[in-house]
C-alpha cells in the first residue's frame, strides 16, 4: 500500500515536472526572449574580447576559460531574470501556489529549462569562441564537455534559486547579480581553472571537476529544499 502510494507520488511529481518543463520550453520557443538576449550578449562579449586583445595561442589558452565563463555568467543572468518574470506577469505564480503541485517540481522544471537554454547558446557560441581565439585543447577534450555540463548546471541551479529569491524585490534585475555572483565564486573558480587546465594540457583537472560536481549537488539540493519557502513568502 505504502509502496503504491510512493509510486503514485513519484509518478505525479514526474508528471508535474514534465508539465512545467514543457510549458517553459513552449513559452521560450514562442517568445525567444531569453535565447535572443543571451545569445547576442555572449556573442558580443566574445567578439569584443577577441578584437581587444591579440593574444598568442599560449596566452589564449590561459585567458580563454575566464573570458568564456564570465561571459556566460553575465549572459545567464538575462535568461534567469526572464524565467521568473513570466511567472509574475498576470500573477500566474499565484495559480501555481493554490494548486497541489509541488514547489520543487516548478523549481526543478525551471532549472532544467534554463540548463537547456544556456546549454543551447553555449553549443553555438563555444565553437565560435574556439575559432576566434584559435584554441585547440592540449588536455583531454572530453573533459571540456564534462566541465561545460557541470558548470552550466552550477550557473542555472543557483541562478534559478536566487532569481526566485529576488523576485519580489523592487530592483530584481540588479538584485540577482548581487546575490548570485558572490555565491558563484567557488563554482566559477572551478570552471575557469578546469577549463584552463584542459586547454593548456597543464596537469589534471580532476580536482576542479570534483569540486564543481560537489558544488552542483549541494546547491541543487539546497534549492530544492528551500524553494517552497521562497515561493510562498508573502
Amino acid at each position: 500500500m505504502s509502496a503504491a502510494n510512493n509510486s503514485n507520488t513519484s509518478n505525479s511529481a514526474a508528471a508535474m515536472l514534465r508539465a512545467n518543463l514543457a510549458k517553459d520550453l513552449r513559452l521560450e520557443w514562442r517568445s525567444k526572449d531569453a535565447l535572443n538576449a543571451m545569445g547576442f550578449f555572449a556573442l558580443l562579449v566574445v567578439v569584443i574580447f577577441a578584437l581587444s586583445f591579440d593574444p598568442t595561442a599560449e596566452e589564449s589558452r590561459r585567458i580563454a576559460g575566464g573570458i568564456f565563463w564570465v561571459a556566460f555568467l553575465f549572459a545567464a543572468v538575462v535568461a534567469l531574470n526572464q524565467t521568473w518574470a513570466r511567472e509574475m506577469r498576470n500573477q500566474v505564480l499565484d495559480a501555481y501556489r493554490v494548486s497541489p503541485a509541488s514547489a520543487s517540481a516548478l523549481f526543478f522544471g525551471k532549472v532544467l529549462g534554463n540548463f537547456l537554454f544556456v546549454g543551447a547558446i553555449e553549443a553555438v557560441v563555444a565553437p565560435l569562441f574556439m575559432v576566434f581565439y584559435n584554441l585547440r585543447p592540449l588536455g583531454p577534450a572530453w573533459q571540456l564537455i564534462v566541465v561545460f555540463l557541470l558548470g552550466t548546471w552550477a550557473l542555472v541551479a543557483n541562478g534559478t534559486f536566487f532569481a526566485a529569491l529576488s523576485l519580489r524585490t523592487r530592483n530584481r534585475e540588479v538584485m540577482l547579480p548581487l546575490l548570485l555572483f558572490p555565491i558563484s565564486v567557488p563554482a566559477l573558480l572551478s570552471m575557469v581553472e578546469a577549463t584552463t587546465t584542459i586547454l593548456a594540457g597543464d596537469g589534471s583537472a580532476g580536482m576542479w571537476i570534483k569540486m564543481l560536481a560537489g558544488y552542483d549537488v549541494i546547491f541543487t539540493v539546497a534549492g530544492l529544499l528551500l524553494f517552497e519557502l521562497v515561493m510562498n513568502a508573502e
Binding site: L27, N90, V92, A95
Partner: protein, 237 residues
Amino acid sequence: MPTSSTKQTEANPQTEEQRISLDRVSKVFGRVAAVRETTLEFIHSRIYVLLGDNGAGKSTLLRLLAGLAQPTSGSITLHGYTRERMGYMAHASLLYDDLTGMENLRYFAQLYGVAATTDVESRCAGVMSSVALDPALAIPVRDYSQGMRQRLSLARAMVHSPEVMLLDEPFSNVDAASASQMTGLLSKLRHAGCLIVLVTHQLNIVKDIGDEFITFRAGQLISSRRRGQLRPTDIIQ
C-alpha cells in the same frame, strides 16, 4: 501575541456540513489592517457575495481563504474541504499570455492531476465551451479581448471541478450576455453542491443568484444579508 492558523478537518457528511469557518481573522500589512477580526461561516451549495468599496478587504479575504496569505491573527478552518479542491480566480488573469486558451487549461489541469482521472483534452474543451469560448481557437491569450480573458480565467479556476470557488471580480469587463451566461454557470455549480465566494462591485449581476451578501468597510464586516434583504446602505458606492 497574535496567533493565526489554517486548519483542515475531515467532515463526516452524515453529521457535519462542509463549510469554511473564519474565527476572528485579521490580516495586517505593516500598519494597515486589511481585514479586522472577521468571524464568518461559508457553507456548501451557497453563493456568497462580498461587497464593499475599494480597499475594504474583500480581495485579501479571498487570498486568505485560498491559502495565498496567512492570517495575522485568528483562524480559518476547512471542514470537509481541502485546498486542492478550491478554484481561485484573481483580479489578474493568472494566465500565460503566450499560450493559447487550451494550452493554458491543459497545463493547469495537469497541475491538479486531472490527467490521472479524466481525459484532459475533453475536460479542457468542455470547460472552455461552458464559458462560451471555442476550444479550437488557436490564438495566444495575448490576443484575447478582456472579456474573453476573464471567461478563460473562470474556466481555469474550474478546470479541476472544484468544490469551492473563490472569484475576485469575475464580471469585470464582461459584456451583459457573457455575464448572464457566467451567472447561469455559477448557479448550476451551486446547485451541484459547490460553495462559491465572489467579490464584485456589480451587484445587479449577482443579486438574483447570490444567497448571502456580505458587506465590508475598511476591513470590517458591517453586514450580512440574505437575498431579498439587501438595503441600499449595505452597498457602498
